[in-house]
């Protein structure tokens, strides 16, 4: 990964040269952020990876400052959050950034994931890259849930009770395990303490998986809207300045949306009754998770049998791991797969329906609708995708990225740009 490229010109600055000879950090940056060759036709749908990274950094930074003022104790947790909101300098800003940052993180990660599903980014040779991405999503969910509990409002407490109680579905040992998780016989102070410790730990686990995710990414580089791998220098451009600039433009747009919520609708994503301190003796009228977990909550509730419901909920995410093998089509991009493209949009709609149903009360017609939507969710992966990939008549794929770009712009392909440095070196 960090192999020194003997063809690269030496650094002019002697200090950099001295350091780089001993620790090739500058060579690394040049090879992976500077000259790193990237398909030149990436659309704005490729911005969400870098945005997810930025969202995580914002979450970690704001989280560290919150942890300096937060008290993980059942008697002080709720009040300490309010103290942050009222008395800590800019505490309200840090707290609202963190609270809305979680929603933004999931938003960009979901868009990133759906982009991968649309353009076949999970296909060979990027299966491991894809699976690491699913693992990141898998890790984000408990992290977000743990953080939600720390507020110690009514929704926090009862969400903690419901979610941890799911473990009792495990045959024979479920009950001892849940008591071990709680550190007692109910969600209480030991639970809050360990949730705080784990909530602080998990983001760094995510950072670690992201490092490996990027490692795998840089092995075979980004997929692109054509799904055709770059054939030569005319298909690619250097990451810097082209994609550094494009990613920064994405950051500006992202911040307008994110900070728009933070400053003008900071409680848009949250349940009002989480501003009521946790009370183990009063059950809220409705217990709903945050919006980003709602589709999976619907899957859980769609199945009347507890253990099966829990398994289905986990499987709903885990099934993404299998996507590279469920989809056997040799064509990656949905641009050339009319049938897959149609089912992709239906699947997206199904996910939105699942999310909507997750926020409804458990009564008809929502229960039946939730069961149908859940069935369709799994059918998409297990029946539709394999069948489509087998019988679909795909459209012809372009010969190369540059041929496609030229065709779309209505002119003949020309020599790649942004590769000059490389050519000069060669």
């Amino acid at each position: 990964m960090t192999a020194h490229n003997p063809a690269s010109p030496p650094f002019r600055n002697p200090v950099i040269r001295w350091v780089d000879y001993r620790l090739p950090v500058f060579t690394f940056m040049r090879d992976h952020l500077g000259d790193y060759q990237t398909p030149k036709n990436l659309s704005y749908m490729w911005n969400f990876g870098s945005l997810a990274g930025i969202a995580l950094v914002v979450m970690i930074l704001t989280g560290i400052f919150l942890a300096m003022h937060y008290q993980p104790n059942v008697n002080g947790a709720f009040a300490s959050v309010e103290r942050i909101m009222r008395d800590v300098n800019y505490g309200w800003l840090i707290r609202y950034l963190h609270m809305n940052g979680a929603s933004m993180f999931f938003l960009v990660v979901y868009l990133h994931t759906f982009r991968g599903l649309y353009y076949g980014s999970y296909k060979a040779p990027r299966e491991v890259l894809w699976m690491l991405g699913v693992l990141i999503l898998f890790t984000m969910m408990p992290t977000a849930f743990l953080g939600y509990v720390l507020v110690w409002g009514q929704q926090s407490f009862w969400a903690a009770t419901v979610i941890t109680s799911m473990v009792t579905a495990v045959p024979f040992v479920g009950e001892p395990i849940v008591e071990w998780l709680w550190g007692g016989f109910a969600v209480d102070n030991p639970t809050l303490n360990r949730f705080f410790a784990l909530h602080y730990l998990m983001p760094f686990v995510i950072v670690g998986i992201i490092a490996i995710h990027l490692w795998a990414l840089h092995m075979h580089r980004s997929n692109n809207p054509t799904g055709v791998e770059p054939k030569g220098p005319e298909d690619t451009i250097a990451f810097h300045p082209y994609f550094t600039v494009k990613d920064l433009l994405g950051v500006a747009a992202f911040l307008i949306v994110y900070l728009g919520f933070v400053f003008f609708a900071p409680n848009f994503f949250t349940e009002p009754d989480n501003y009521i301190p946790a009370d183990p003796l009063v059950t809220p009228h409705q217990i709903v998770p945050e919006w980003y977990l709602l589709p999976f909550y619907t899957v859980l509730r769609a199945i009347p049998h507890k253990l099966t419901g829990v398994i289905a909920m986990v499987a709903a995410i885990a099934i993404l791991f299998l996507m590279p093998w469920l989809d056997r089509s040799p064509v990656k991009s949905a641009r050339f797969r009319p049938l897959y493209r149609m089912f992709f949009w239906i699947f997206l709609l199904d996910c939105l329906i699942l999310g909507y149903l997750g926020a409804q009360t458990a009564e008809e017609p929502y229960v039946t609708a939730g069961q149908i939507a859940t069935f369709y969710y799994f059918a998409h992966f297990l029946i539709i995708v394999p069948a489509v990939s087998r019988f679909e008549k795909t459209k012809p794929v372009p010969e190369s990225i540059s041929v496609d770009v030229a065709a779309r712009e209505g002119r003949r392909p020309r020599r790649g740009v942004g590769t000059k440095k490389k050519e000069e070196v060669a």
Binding site: W92, P272, D273, A362
Partner: protein
């Protein structure tokens, strides 16, 4: 022992108390206009001061508002000495005197007048005292009430003005009142406001609707005291981001010129 309990809890919770929701169909509160709505909306100081008066003279006899400190009242436009004067009207436990005593000769807690740094004094010494005086239920703290209910301030006004006679055949629990907007329609709080109950020094007539609006305005501020600071900073940040966004579009186009 635990397993049936847990299964029951889980089942009950997953059912999301649908039945409860159905039988407690409360009317949605009417959508009112507030000065603090919208990206530029700020609080109305006069309304908040009237609301504070209602809180102090009516609500405070049962409801605490423990997250507020007297010094926070500076945001309502009171001067430092006015805040001191308001705080001084309340007594708080004084703590040990130089001799180390926390109680006087007759065994009562030593007290001192509150200062601006003290939290608003609660009407009851503890939860049990509050329960004993209120039919077995603690009146909720009002610090966050405007944020912890759906359409908070609208709901509060609707609740305060929503008392009425129960429809024929409805049997009220002992001590309960009928309220159109309360989930289940039976509320333990008796109608708190009556026309002219509070003497407004100036401004509008103290109708129940006016008093309800004023106290809800005050409670919204109590729940979200940084709203004005937040929107003020937000406008600057958005202005900065708008410029940054336009510049980034220009930079991106310039850099990508030779690719397209």
């Amino acid at each position: 022992m635990m397993r049936p309990f847990l299964s029951f809890t889980l089942a009950a919770l997953l059912a999301s108390s649908a039945a409860l929701a159905a039988e407690s169909e409360a009317l949605p509160p009417p959508d009112l206009e507030w000065s603090f709505e919208g990206p530029l909306g700020l609080y109305d100081r006069d309304a908040m001061r009237r609301g504070l008066k209602i809180y102090r003279e009516v609500c405070a006899s049962c409801h605490s508002i423990g997250l507020l400190r007297y010094r926070d009242l500076r945001a309502l436009g009171y001067t430092e000495s006015e805040v001191k004067e308001i705080a001084g009207q309340y007594e708080v436990p004084a703590g040990p005197d130089p001799a180390g005593n926390t109680v006087d000769a007759s065994g009562n807690l030593l007290t001192r007048p509150a200062t601006p740094a003290d939290a608003f004094v609660a009407p009851f010494a503890n939860a049990n005292a509050a329960k004993a005086a209120n039919n077995g239920k603690v009146p909720p703290d009002l610090s966050l009430i405007a944020k912890s209910r759906i359409s908070g301030p609208d709901y509060l006004v609707a609740l305060l003005t929503g008392y009425g006679e129960p429809p024929a055949g409805t049997e009220l629990a002992p001590g309960a009142s009928y309220n159109l907007y309360f989930p289940g329609h039976q509320i333990a709080m008796p109608p708190p406001l009556s026309p002219g109950q509070v003497q407004y020094e100036d401004g509008p007539e103290a109708t129940v609707a006016q008093m309800s609006t004023d106290v809800s305005h005050f409670l919204m501020w109590a729940a979200e005291p940084k709203l004005e600071e937040r929107k003020n900073l937000g406008l600057k940040v958005m202005g900065y981001l708008a410029v940054l966004f336009v510049l980034m579009i220009a930079v991106k186009r310039r850099v990508w010129r030779d690719v397209h």
